[in-house]
């Protein structure tokens, strides 16, 4: 069972202005609704299937988790459709919310359109397009900022949202993250030889690469006082966050996991927790040999206590692919589900554990506890982690 929270700086800040997550929405290739996504996850379903959106002849991989009926409309990016689906799946967002968006490649589909000589909205090509689209779609006044830190974009965006609330600069923040599967991205990861020819197998000893996916998430973060004023009950609370660079290589993780260890340590310290207080860890778990090995090493460092079997570790990328800059936001939303349901979802694609992956399972596993950590690592050598608490 979790220990009592230490009265550190983070704990004091939480008492002053705790950050609640009061609403979430996720759109992925599994479904447009988080409850259905959760059900599919528990059944170990995968949305990774043959790519039909563009020609994949000549690529080693021919699979990805694309949203089947997501298409560009006229000269506009698919981001519009993706964000509209989010808006349909979430409750009203206060119009005074600050907006923080996150993406790795935003409306890159429009740059492709332009290169092919097709009509495209130049505004959608701008990397800040996601903030513009989200601001309009959700009807909030703030024009927002867009954070880009490769696959760690969303978790850093959530951290920045928490910082705005903690410091009293905002009462409500909408975090909106999205990324698309496009030929641009697919060809790039293919050229880097990072794609698996089969649906990815996170933490499996026979894993051979990642599978791309597309998706989006919206998270409403609110200071406790504002949420109570509005009569809202929290889905969960953000207790701590941390981010750190490897300073090792821009496309390969530090094999020792130094950046991830530091990010997790900072997040736990701010939450006033130890690794043994966590009941589950939502790993980045891409299925690449280097990433998964690095993560397992970092987890062993951060969560190993003599006589303690440590938290359950899972990855959702075998079910919905690697959604790049949206991954962290989707995983925060599903992490809240994990805590609420007290059930760690199966790691789809996982079968035979890689060394150190004993806490990963191909089946859903009941958990007991209030705290979950979710982390992501990305190009540029950036790592970010967040600690979530069940309820308020």
């Amino acid at each position: 069972m979790p220990r009592e929270i230490n009265a550190g700086r983070g704990a004091v800040a939480q008492r002053k202005n705790a950050v609640w997550i009061t609403d979430t929405a996720v759109v992925s290739a599994l479904s447009d609704h988080i409850d259905e996504i959760w059900e599919q996850l528990l059944k170990a379903k995968t949305a990774i299937r043959p790519v039909e959106r563009f020609n994949v002849d000549g690529y080693r991989s021919k699979v990805a988790a694309c949203i089947r009926d997501l298409m560009p409309t006229g000269d506009r990016s698919m981001l519009h459709g993706l964000v509209s689906r989010l808006a349909c799946a979430i409750g009203p967002v206060p119009s005074d919310a600050a907006l923080v968006t996150a993406t790795a490649k935003a409306g890159i589909d429009m740059l492709e359109q332009r290169k092919y000589g097709r009509a495209c909205d130049a505004g959608d090509i701008l990397p800040s397009s996601l903030a513009h689209i989200a601001s309009q779609t959700f009807g909030i006044r703030d024009q927002g900022i867009t954070i880009s830190a490769a696959c760690a974009s969303s978790v850093i965006a959530v951290s920045q949202a928490c910082a705005l609330i903690h410091s009293g600069r905002a009462e409500v923040v909408l975090v909106c993250c999205a990324d698309l599967v496009t030929r641009f991205v697919f060809s790039g990861f293919s050229a880097l030889e990072a794609l698996s020819s089969q649906p990815c197998m996170p933490f499996d000893k026979n894993r051979s690469g990642l599978s791309l996916g597309e998706g989006a998430a919206a998270l409403v973060l609110m200071g406790r006082e504002r949420a109570q004023r509005e009569g809202l009950t929290p889905l969960g609370r953000v207790c701590g966050w941390g981010s750190a660079s490897d300073a090792y290589h821009v496309t390969a993780p530090d094999p020792e996991g130094s950046g991830l260890i530091r990010a997790i340590t900072l997040a736990l310290k701010q939450a006033g927790l130890k690794g043994r207080d966590l009941c589950a860890v939502c790993a980045h778990g891409t299925g690449t040999i280097a990433n998964d090995a690095m993560e397992l090493k970092a987890f062993a460092h951060c969560f190993s206590d003599p006589g303690d079997s440590g938290p359950r570790v899972y990855s959702v990328k075998g079910a919905m692919g690697h959604t790049l800059g949206a991954a962290g936001g989707i995983e925060v939303a599903l992490g809240l589900k994990t805590l609420e349901q007290q059930m760690a979802p199966p790691t789809v694609g996982f079968s035979q554990p890689a060394q150190g992956a004993e806490r990963v399972s191909a089946q859903a596993v009941p958990i007991q506890g209030d705290y979950l950590l979710t982390s992501n690592s990305g190009f540029g050598g950036i790592n970010a982690a967040i600690v979530l608490k069940r309820g308020g």
Partner: protein
């Protein structure tokens, strides 16, 4: 209160540091070619393969660190880095996708990695041994103060005690119909919570509760305004 301890820039007029140059301006035009030896003391194997956007950003960071006397290191240190950009590495995106169109077996993996606009921060982290948080903010507004606000907020919340905030905008692609085009160049400031001494700083910088940026207790309206104010203050202009 944190202080600015270093300034570095690359503009159409050339490269500069706050302590060495008494003039700073950002104007339209063509940026100078950035060579490794003009910004880095030691060899850097990655430099040759970096795109123009990354070289520009790395140069701004290198010059600011040098100006602050923080460019040398023996152990990794928690220095945060946040950069605002309007267009990011959009020219690199176009160059990379050209290699895809030429034939997928021609797609350049090296170039692709620089289509993630935060990668130059990773290169800077590798070269200067900084392991703090690092990210890019896409900001359509030309004032470019979002990176500064974010960094000061992170320092205020004790996430780290020193960091670099800046703006990076490569020359806009000439054939892209964009709503507006930012001035090309990069500028970074080094900010420290506890500088070695008051004599080593340009002055105090603060994120006020109404989100304005105050340098020497005066409101700054843009990143360029801030750099100019620092230079004028230091050189007594």
């Amino acid at each position: 209160m944190p202080f600015i301890t270093g300034i570095g820039w690359v503009t159409v007029e050339g490269m500069g540091c706050g302590r060495q140059s008494s003039h700073f301006s950002m104007t339209p035009g063509t940026l100078p070619k950035i060579r490794r030896k003009s910004i880095l003391d030691r060899p850097f194997v990655h430099f040759g393969r970096m795109d123009d956007f990354s070289r520009l950003g790395l140069a701004g960071i290198a010059l600011a660190l040098k100006d602050a006397g923080r460019h040398e290191w023996t152990a990794k240190r928690p220095v945060g880095m946040v950069a605002s950009t309007v267009l990011g590495c959009i020219q690199t995106d176009m160059d990379y996708f050209d290699t895809v169109i030429q034939g997928d077996d021609m797609a350049s993996p090296g170039l692709f990695s620089y289509t993630l606009s935060n990668c130059f921060l990773g290169e800077a982290a590798c070269y200067f041994g900084t392991n703090g948080s690092s990210y890019v903010i896409y900001d359509p507004h030309f004032a470019g103060l979002t990176s500064l606000s974010a960094l000061l907020l992170n320092i205020q919340l004790h996430e780290y005690n020193m960091g670099l905030a800046g703006i990076v905008n490569a020359e806009p692609p000439p054939d892209l119909p964009l709503p507006g085009k930012p001035l090309p160049g990069a500028a970074f400031v080094m900010i420290e919570k506890t500088p070695p001494s008051n004599e080593t700083t340009y002055g105090p910088i603060e994120l006020a509760q109404n989100d304005t940026i105050l340098f020497n207790h005066k409101e700054m309206t843009s990143f360029l305004h801030l750099i100019q104010a620092c230079v004028q203050m230091f050189h007594g202009i």
